[in-house]
Symmetry: C2
Subunit: 422 residues, 2 copies
Amino acid sequence: MKYAELTKEQLDTLLAAQRREYEEIAAKGYKVDIARGKPCFEQAKLAFGMLDAPMAEDFPKSSLNYGGLEGIPEMRALFAQILGLEPSEVFVGGNSSLNLMYDTVQRGMQFGFDGCEPWNRSAIKFLCPVPGYDRHFGITEHFGIEMINIPMNEDGPNMDLVENYVANDPSVKGIWCVPKYSNPTGITYSDEVVTRLATMPAAAKDFRIFWDNAYCVHDLTDTPAKLANIMTIAKKAGNEDRIFEFASTSKITLAGAGVACMGMSEKNLKEALSHITFQTIGYDKVNQYRHYVFLRSVDHIKEIMDRQREIIAPKFKAIIDALAQNFGDDCDIASWTEPRGGYFISLDVLGGCAKEVGRLCKAAGLTITSAGATYPYGKDDADRNLRIAPTFTSESDLPAAIEILIASVKLACMSKLAEEKE
Amino acid sequence: MKYAELTKEQLDTLLAAQRREYEEIAAKGYKVDIARGKPCFEQAKLAFGMLDAPMAEDFPKSSLNYGGLEGIPEMRALFAQILGLEPSEVFVGGNSSLNLMYDTVQRGMQFGFDGCEPWNRSAIKFLCPVPGYDRHFGITEHFGIEMINIPMNEDGPNMDLVENYVANDPSVKGIWCVPKYSNPTGITYSDEVVTRLATMPAAAKDFRIFWDNAYCVHDLTDTPAKLANIMTIAKKAGNEDRIFEFASTSKITLAGAGVACMGMSEKNLKEALSHITFQTIGYDKVNQYRHYVFLRSVDHIKEIMDRQREIIAPKFKAIIDALAQNFGDDCDIASWTEPRGGYFISLDVLGGCAKEVGRLCKAAGLTITSAGATYPYGKDDADRNLRIAPTFTSESDLPAAIEILIASVKLACMSKLAEEKE
């Protein structure tokens, strides 16, 4: 349906009915949350074997003491396999890849990379594909780094724009990327986009791609997306120092209690370690070893992820089905992505309505990610994008969440159109 | 014995015999290590119950997901009891208190404290009681912070010097302290020293005491040292924002896989969290909860530490007995501390000999902490101080370590005296 093509009278009638429907739903006193990309308890339970297995006696003694700054060899090798890197290119850290990203940006600010001037010394910029991950933008904003929006296409960020900035502006030092099952759009960068990122000329020698491969094994369908190996391509072009890759087991084992890693050239890793050696004696190797014993192999990780998929794919489907049912057939007030993996559905509503949808959802008992959060500085100029995180809510709560979301989108957008017709 | 009072002939005779003895020991091919304050495997085993207990089903669901930036309430309360703070003054982090210290200094450098200018903006200084902890000095050196040596007395740092610097030089922003069973001297700050630190006037509003209470429950005798509660005293003087306290369970449960904490005023903690919230979604709450279940109470921690003491106190005794036997009776080439807790014995040898002792030890198969490491920039101008870490070596290896150490001290010091008599 094209709501914009309705007459004022038709729209007013529909709007009045929609307002009643929304108010009935709001009166039900629901309390549901689809705001953050958090695994649900059933997913966490799949990792309980890791917590309960008697294993201390089997641990190598070296895991039970200080040292081993770069992580245990077993986990370096496993992450290397997952990411298509050499074990010598992998650093295994603590529980949080976000922490590794923040610390990496902080090292750029404080010390600089590869002999270049510390980023603190002058005004620098990061490119931010939008919509994107709010916590990435939070880090760069916190350090006072200017953020430049880059629109996302179906196959990744608009590369003409990216190349132009990176080739000509030496103050552009980085780009945030979630290249597979992107947060929040769910798209995966095409081979061409990955190649252009890895090979494009850069005005700044210390330009870095923050490659947050958070959803590297997080498929939701039988036709998983294939992400090209950016490190392999970068190496051929002599650009391997450009890549800072990140991943973690947070959404494989336990959110907040997993193991995170960084992948980078041996030269970059050596430089990182030259700072990290002052920061800590080493990350939690017991947790690293616990993970190694539990995860074992890439194949076993695939099995775990298949079981997770059984739990969460129906939740994605329920939301997408409801969106299709209500806004299908080329509807002009809502469009959305159908991700083949990852943790999010990206929902675009009629321009100028996203904040109002958020307000209506909240008033009816549904927490969603703040409108604007998927943009640097929280500013979605078109006020269109909403991020939907289906995983955390229980299946029994999901119908309520969907009911509120659909009713709020309809009410907000119809109200806006009706106003415009005044 | 006073070696300096021997005639040249007497000394030459002793030296020749000592050289033969050293060479015989060196020829035995020992390989032992008393370099780092690492717990031994028997100590680690005391915590295996923590790793093996089936417990996941008992975990609160909130521990099994993201969030809870300030740490789980149970561990905040337990650390608060240990340190004499309010739970609201305790932040529970990851596996490393050193990491919390580094990050705190980094926040001072990047963002500044309490509205003051970031430390990066001008040349700043830290006071460093010496001998002290090499990794503290490593952090400040890495950030280019000028370090000023403050001699340690029996009851803590020379407070006349400290007060003079802090009152008059606004570029003095911090002091490193290990107030209980100090690394490496083993002394505990007296009530007077703690009071003077907490109440002294400071030229810099953002002067901070880095209070590394690493050995708060690490007693080795029946007469444990009592450390005054610096936060209580600071509060009375209105100086509570001056204190950054740190501790961890690394030497209670597992080195490198424990839980670390920071204690600070609620105002400071709020400021710290305003930055940490961009750094991570939260530290490993599963490990925090695992620790809570295992440690339970201050009384139970005391029991664990008593069992650790049974393992390590004999190692301290063996070394101290050997030192007394060889260098007792007011000997002029070696003096040492007899710590009532902590992880170190501080050994002072004849000036100008510490590096040579280190070289001889190494050549005979004994690794000890590099001479000079206990001083900022690795520079012990008197070349006197050596740090002995008795815990890690097995009891069966300890006699070899002692044999090499004693022979090396004697040979180095006698050689030096003999040279001086040429």
